[in-house]
């Protein structure tokens, strides 16, 4: 089946999968968003805080797993990106990883006796993961559009040309706008998740209030990012794979790929509708609508930067070193093998969905959290 596809078709297929994983990761980051809302929603009440943390704690690992899979899939499908970006933007990725390392232990260790660092420290870890980790991820993704200072030699070994190894990305308004937009977006998702997952009126009210604050701020950053993106000169390549600069490249990409533009607009609308229904009609199920909206929006952004003869990891140092899905991918054989493996993804998503359904049939309540025989975080 996949053997018959051309290398280009396989590269496109894999970029779609990477985009889907990116979208799913964007959605699952409601966990990170929720972590930054602990103070605002719990307001110092220990029981509420424990309810919130336990609500997130049942999902945090999936975000972690999605991040690992995202890395693994990039390694397998686009190894040149993997070696160039991770080896090059060293400090950005290291900082992101540090933010995720400290998340992994925080849930389990937070309330355990003799936990060495104390409850406050673990809660701070969760906040750092949800704020700095998310902003840095947004900044790292923004460099897909804005470019980085690297070159690739004739052996396809890459070299970075700034001493601060990727941290220079933090000096760009464009990159930061996406970082902060993502930060506020996942906070909105986190609040939507609390509303859906926890059976408590006070938490629900406070979560709605937090959405009211975060939504306008998100829109400011997101619209800033979009306005910069659509007016940006982008990195295109011709039929000889020669990279050149093209005005309004990313706007043109959307216009020339109406399906992707449709995904993008529908995704944004779904997030807006989810917020609207939650605030005005007290709906509790809008994490599904909003979550799907985020998946579509993020996926569309990835498709925009990877397709239509666009360099998805451009070099601002040496234009011709820029990475495209054509010059950075795995071989035909590897992509074919991995494509067969990818057929497992629907099955995986199905059992995740089933397990979630089983677990979420019973909402988290104060009584459950206060029961000494329940495993709680």
């Amino acid at each position: 089946m996949f053997e018959e596809l051309t290398l280009l078709q396989l590269q496109q297929f894999w970029w779609i999968i990477i985009s889907l994983l990116g979208g799913l990761f964007g959605f699952i980051m409601f966990v990170q968003g929720g972590q930054t809302l602990l103070g605002r929603v719990a307001k110092g009440d220990e029981t509420y805080k424990t309810m919130l943390i336990n609500s997130l704690g049942r999902k945090w690992e999936l975000g972690f797993t999605t991040l690992v899979l995202f890395g693994g899939a990039l390694f397998a499908a686009f190894p040149l990106f993997y070696s160039t970006s991770f080896g090059g933007a060293y400090w950005v990725w290291m900082a992101i990883l540090f933010c995720f390392i400290i998340q992994a232990v925080s849930y389990e260790y937070r309330k355990k006796p003799n936990n060495f660092l104390g409850q406050k420290v673990y809660e701070t870890f969760l906040f750092i993961n949800g704020s700095l980790g998310v902003i840095l991820l947004g900044v790292a993704i923004a460099t897909f559009f804005s470019g980085s200072a690297f070159s690739v030699d004739e052996n396809n070994f890459s070299h970075w040309h700034t001493s601060i190894r990727g941290l220079e990305a933090l000096s760009s308004i464009f990159n930061l706008s996406l970082g902060f937009a993502l930060f506020f977006l996942v906070r909105i998702l986190g609040a939507l998740y609390f509303i859906n997952n926890i059976d408590n009126e006070t938490i629900r009210k406070r979560a709605i209030k937090s959405i009211k604050i975060d939504m306008p701020i998100f829109l400011v950053f997101f619209l800033l990012f979009l306005s910069l993106l659509f007016t940006k000169t982008g990195f295109a390549y011709d039929e000889n794979l020669k990279i050149y600069m093209q005005e309004y490249k990313y706007l043109i990409n959307f216009l020339e790929m109406p399906f992707v533009l449709g995904m993008f607009i529908i995704g944004i609308l779904m997030v807006v509708i989810a917020v609207f229904l939650t605030i005005h009609f007290n709906k509790t199920c809008c994490i599904k609508t909003g979550g799907l909206g985020v998946v579509l929006t993020v996926m569309a952004l990835f498709l925009n930067v990877g397709f239509n003869n666009t360099s998805y990891y451009p070099s601002s140092f040496d234009l011709q070193s820029s990475l495209t899905i054509i010059n950075s991918s795995g071989s035909h054989y590897t992509l074919t093998v991995m494509s067969y493996v990818s057929l497992m993804v629907p099955f995986v998503l199905a059992y995740i969905f089933y397990a979630w359904m089983q677990m979420d049939k019973v909402k988290i309540t104060k009584e459950e959290i206060e029961d000494p025989h329940t495993h709680t975080y």
């Binding site: 972690f64 693994g72 160039t84 071989s331 493996v341 329940t374």
Partner: protein, 508 residues
């Protein structure tokens, strides 16, 4: 490339791997032990087994969290610290990592939540299934990462593409069913099962010493020691096969493991030995200050023939015509020919010189298996650190034998006597908990230090694999990791001890 960059990059990866491996073995084995206990609960309906399961689950979760924390960094370190490696073999190496994510990690993370929070939310059957799936998922994860590691030790199923300057996969089945991958997987997971068994019997022995949780502790010892004994027998078989594969695929590593400088027929294994620190490749001093050797055993272990010739380090470095062993110097020359042919091939490609393209491609293909040697400076560079490889290997084997004996003892005294009356055995059992970790880490040191200088056996030395980055960056992250992981380890141990002190009655 800055001086010491490779050393610091290796140190950072070693640090991460050693820390990560403090937690993984327990996850691998304890998952199954818990699943067995919960199965007994579901079958009998006895609440005692539910309580027991929940207690061990609590410890499992404490360990699991830090295992995940230290694990995420490893996948990305291939990119951050070994960027050239990531390109050169990413086409093969990336696949198992991605498969691990799809097939194993999601299984673990999804059902982990059900296992811990689903007791009163899902049916007994679904909960039990979830517990088994967490165990299976963690072992599946080990399978794929060990397939990747085995491929580094024995690269197979690929061909070199001079146009992309990388190795590309040709046969997925060769990669995953390579004999090194199979033996490595079985040997490594069984070491994890032993660590977990020691953990269970050790903690149970501590309760018995304190005269606490008597029934819980005795039954846990029976489950843990049975699991451990079966695994200990199994690990001797997988260990034998692992050594056989090392002999076939990495003879230098085997020679270092045994401190074998001069090759010989009827070679014996040094059971106990102290290396002579003054011994070098170029002098004729005695290799050992003291040794106890079991004759013929090394020849048999390596080649399944008691009279087989086992090459020593000198044969492998300087060559041995009698046994048709090529010298490292000769391999380096061929490697340089391969590297030069690649350069000329690329030049011919740029000039579109068809004749030269074909000519240099042929030369390259002919010498490709020596490609990595072309980057070495001296023939002696192919020898890994001998004392470290030798002592860790022998420590691992000795401890493995001890564990087999200990599990047998524990089963006998628990089933046939009242183990409460044998305080010495209980103390020894508690003391054996860290020994399991030491043995398991020693195994990894043998595997990884023993293959130096190669990132990929014969194809890429670590000096070429490393990211082009300043040493100060790697140093900084090394100390950051060292600090963070140490803090988390202290936290983990303190929490673990705290939970053990609370005991199953307080566990949830």
């Amino acid at each position: 490339m800055e001086e010491h960059l490779v050393d610091w990059s290796r140190a950072q990866f070693a640090l991460t791997a050693i820390y990560h491996w403090l937690f993984v073995p327990l996850t691998l084995g304890l998952g199954f032990i818990i699943a067995i206990m919960e199965t007994i609960y579901v079958k009998t309906g006895d609440e005692f087994w539910k309580k027991t399961t929940k207690f061990w689950m609590t410890l499992f979760a404490i360990n699991f969290a830090i295992g995940v924390a230290t694990g995420i960094i490893m996948e990305f370190e291939f990119g951050t610290n070994w960027a050239n490696y990531s390109w050169f073999v990413g086409d093969i190496f990336g696949a198992p990592l991605a498969v691990e994510g799809i097939l194993a990690f999601f299984m673990e993370s999804t059902f982990f939540a059900v296992m811990f929070f689903g007791w009163d939310k899902v049916s007994k059957g679904f909960h039990l299934l979830s517990t088994w799936l967490v165990a299976v998922g963690s072992n599946l994860s080990a399978l794929w990462i060990l397939v990747a590691n085995a491929w580094m030790q024995y690269p197979t199923g690929m061909k070199f593409n001079p146009d992309t300057v990388r190795n590309e996969m040709e046969n997925f089945w060769d990669v995953i069913f390579s004999p090194v991958a199979i033996s490595k997987f079985l040997h490594t997971i069984s070491s994890g099962y032993i660590v977990a068994s020691l953990f269970v019997v050790g903690i149970s022995a501590w309760y018995l010493l304190k005269k606490r949780e008597i029934e819980f502790a005795k039954k846990s010892i029976i489950v843990g020691a049975s699991f451990g004994l079966i695994t200990s027998i199994f690990i001797t078989i997988t260990g034998d096969e692992s050594a056989h594969q090392v002999a076939l695929k990495q003879p230098v590593k085997l020679a270092a493991m045994e401190g074998l400088y001069e090759g010989k027929i009827d070679a014996g294994i040094v059971g106990i030995g102290v290396l002579n620190p003054k011994k070098t490749l170029t002098n004729d001093k005695e290799t050992f200050l003291f040794e106890l050797e079991a004759p013929y055993t090394l020849s048999f272990l390596a080649y399944h023939d008691i009279h087989a010739f086992v090459p020593g380090l000198k044969d492998l470095v300087y060559g041995n015509e009698t046994y048709n062993i090529e010298s490292a110097q000769r391999k380096m020359e061929k490697g340089k020919i391969a590297i030069n042919a690649l350069k000329e091939y690329k030049k011919a490609k740029r000039e579109n010189n068809v004749e030269n393209i074909q000519k240099y491609e042929k030369i390259l293909i002919k010498n490709m298996k020596y490609f990595g040697y072309g980057h070495l400076k001296n023939p002696e560079d192919i020898v890994p650190p001998i004392p470290l490889t030798f002592y860790t290997f022998h420590l691992m084997v000795a401890l493995g034998a001890w564990f087999l004996f200990l599990f047998a003892l524990l089963l006998f005294f628990t089933l046939k006597r009242d183990i409460l009356n044998y305080k010495w055995l209980l103390i020894v059992t508690v003391a054996s908990i860290p020994l399991g970790y030491i043995a398991s880490e020693a195994g990894w040191i043998v595997a990884e230090v023993g293959r130096q200088p190669w990132a990929i056996q014969d194809l890429m030395p670590v000096g070429v694999a490393v990211t082009d980055i300043s040493t100060s960056n790697v140093k900084t992250t090394f100390f950051m990791f060292a600090f963070l992981f140490t803090a988390l380890l202290i936290a983990e141990i303190k929490i673990m001890i705290g939970q053990i002190k609370i005991g199953p009655e307080g566990g949830h």
